[in-house]
């Protein structure tokens, strides 16, 4: 177990280094720089000074090692070009917590709602409630988040006027409902679909029949025998959707004007703010890799037969 953990954590290094290298060279190979302006172009002297200030005039390999050295030793992701008063670390510290709250809340909602929906629908197969759940899961699974978001805004904010059309006042306010629900829909749908299939399969196993035959209460059968054994595929699907929650935030935050890292990232891409793009990308890649490791470790707890080697 310890050896497995160490090896998995060590694997972070090539993954993040690969991501760093790829992003670094793609961005440097892109013609045009952060100082390009459509209106009021900067003078050559000003550009040269800016390049010198941000060390963009140094040889490429020097920039490459300088930056990664700063990240590793000082946790310094460099300055932001677009927002001269803040460093990337400060920007991440300011905008990331909002995204983290929305993402975590959405994932929690998706697991609770998705597994409940899948369970109900598997326990009552081919009834109207099952059909409704299956319909929801197919629609929710196919419709992209940037389609769901504006439609929900139109219905709940513009027509019904129940919720604000955008903005952010904190997780426990009305303003959080639309971002969290929008982000949760696709994972809820997928979880409902896979937990239904998984539970239906487990329900037909002999040990479930045995449990019922020996007179266990239905609740105990459901929790101890059916759900406990159906969880592995459910956890796998939940793990797959972690990356979705991260990238989905780009759209949800942009449409709903939530001041999170996703919206900031989209703006930075449009402004070619290299250090911010790099910092955010590394952070998100780390997050996804880390969560994948957690999911893999969870397998061991859910199913003692799985050994880590």
């Amino acid at each position: 177990m310890t050896r497995y953990l160490v090896r998995r954590v060590l694997l972070f290094i090539p993954v993040l280094l690969g991501v760093y290298t790829l992003v670094f060279f793609l961005m440097r190979a892109t013609p045009g720089g952060p100082w390009d302006r459509a209106e009021k172009p900067l003078t050559e002297a000003a550009i040269a000074r800016l390049n010198a200030k941000y060390k963009l005039d140094r040889p490429l390999y020097e920039q490459y090692f300088d930056y990664i050295w700063g990240v590793v030793t000082r946790f310094d992701f460099g300055p932001s070009y677009r927002n001269a008063t803040q460093t990337v670390t400060e920007i991440i510290a300011q905008f990331f917590p909002v995204s983290l709250q929305i993402g975590a809340a959405a994932m929690l909602l998706a697991v609770v709602a998705g597994v409940s929906l899948g369970t109900i629908s598997a326990l009552h197969p081919n009834t109207w409630i099952d059909y409704l759940a299956v319909l929801f899961s197919i629609v929710g699974y196919s419709v992209p988040v940037f389609v769901v978001a504006p439609v929900l805004v139109v219905v709940f904010a513009v027509w019904l006027k129940w919720l604000p059309t955008g903005g952010w006042d904190g997780l426990f306010t009305k303003s959080a409902i639309l971002p969290v629900v929008t982000l949760a829909i696709a994972p809820t749908a997928a979880l409902a679909r896979y937990s239904r299939a998984s539970i239906l399969e487990v329900t037909r196993q002999d040990y479930v029949r045995t449990a019922r035959a020996k007179g266990l209460m239905e609740r105990a059968v459901l929790v101890r025998h059916i759900l406990a054994n159906a969880l592995i595929p459910i956890v796998t699907v939940a793990g797959l959707y972690l990356a979705f929650v991260v990238t989905g935030s780009f759209f949800v935050e942009t449409i709903l004007r939530v001041p999170g890292i996703g919206r900031y990232f989209v703006k930075s891409i449009q402004a070619r703010d290299y250090p911010v793009i790099m910092g955010t990308t590394l952070l998100l890649a780390f997050l996804v890799t880390f969560m994948n490791l957690i999911v893999d470790l969870l397998y061991g707890f859910l199913d003692p037969r799985i050994r880590f080697e």
Partner: protein
């Protein structure tokens, strides 16, 4: 909808790919099974409709997507403009019709590129094994740790910056990109990032097929490896690739719309459903219909491809289940 679920739950039926003598009847069988799946047929019907709209866009669209009429911006739906007009006074229905062209092209061409890149790499990796396999799969693993949208956005930033200025041997590509309104860039970005899944799938298929007796027999009689790969392994690994490609089409359509939504997809004025949603989202309070029509178009197209893909999976290999 529930029908495809029921078929899936019914478990494996008789069809397998083991006997090459049944090869032709497999496709006929599969097609008949597909036609019995109502959701898949409806999906196929809608896809054909969108394809026809895309082909005949010039005839069907009441206005050109370039026509700006600043005298009639933000018109609600009316007899002249069935779905209203947007902030430039462009006819929304016409944009929707031309947008179908972009979506369908991206979906089909990008998927074709992905298959053309992914199948050979996966086949080589699975067939050769050893060090080649290890290097390719390590690379795929590293790429997998990366959320694909993030990677595609970064590749797109590069392409959007570099491609229009490309000279020398790449100059025709730059011209083609301009002619297609930036579509070529989207193809390249998707092709470069999404071959991974196909490659992995094909590799897995090849690995399991490699152990079959008929491959051993072919090797024993001295058939060259290239011929074994092209004539035996790849055709037999094809069914899951077809399903993955069909289910990949809506993913590509969604990705293009998403990229255009954040300004990283096709170049304006080429109309794209994603761009329409983004433009509509700005005026969502006053003019909600601007966002609803492209939203409906994307949603219905995605649903149709997913229905068709699910139907194909059940039809081609009922034992394959959710993969």
């Amino acid at each position: 909808m529930s029908q495809s679920e029921q078929i899936r739950l019914a478990g494996p039926s008789a069809a397998t790919f083991e006997s090459p003598a049944r090869h032709r009847s497999l496709w006929v069988d599969a097609f008949q099974r597909l036609l019995r799946n109502k959701a898949a047929v409806i999906g196929l019907g809608f896809i054909l409709f969108v394809v026809l709209v895309a082909i005949f866009a010039d005839v069907l669209a009441p206005y050109s997507y370039r026509d700006q009429d600043l005298g009639s911006v933000y018109q609600p739906p009316s007899r002249e403009h069935l779905l209203g007009t947007n902030q430039y006074g462009k006819d929304v229905l016409s944009l929707l019709i031309y947008g179908a062209r972009v979506s369908i092209t991206v979906g089909l061409v990008a998927q074709l590129i992905i298959v053309l890149v992914g199948v050979p790499i996966g086949a080589i990796s699975g067939f050769l094994g050893g060090r080649v396999d290890m290097i390719i799969m390590r690379f795929v693993d590293i790429m997998y740790a990366f959320p694909d949208l993030l990677l595609i956005i970064i590749v797109m930033t590069f392409i959007k910056g570099a491609l229009p200025k490309a000279g020398g041997p790449l100059a025709p590509l730059a011209r083609l990109n301009e002619l297609t309104g930036g579509l070529l860039g989207v193809f390249i970005a998707l092709g470069l990032t999404w071959w991974l899944t196909v490659a992995r799938l094909v590799r897995g298929q090849i690995l399991s097929l490699k152990e079959r007796d008929y491959i051993l027999a072919a090797q024993a009689v001295g058939v060259p490896s290239r011929r074994i790969m092209v004539r035996h392994l790849i055709p037999n690994a094809l069914a899951p690739v077809i399903v993955a490609a069909t289910l990949g089409v809506p993913q590509a359509i969604m990705m293009e719309a998403g990229l255009s939504f954040i300004g990283m997809g096709v170049d304006p004025p080429t109309p794209s459903w994603g761009m329409m949603i983004q433009e509509g989202a700005h005026a969502i309070r006053g003019y909600p219909y601007l966002v609803l029509s492209p939203a409906a178009a994307i949603a219905l197209t995605m649903l149709s491809f997913n229905f068709l893909g699910d139907g194909l999976r059940d039809a081609l290999d009922p034992g394959m289940k959710d993969r």
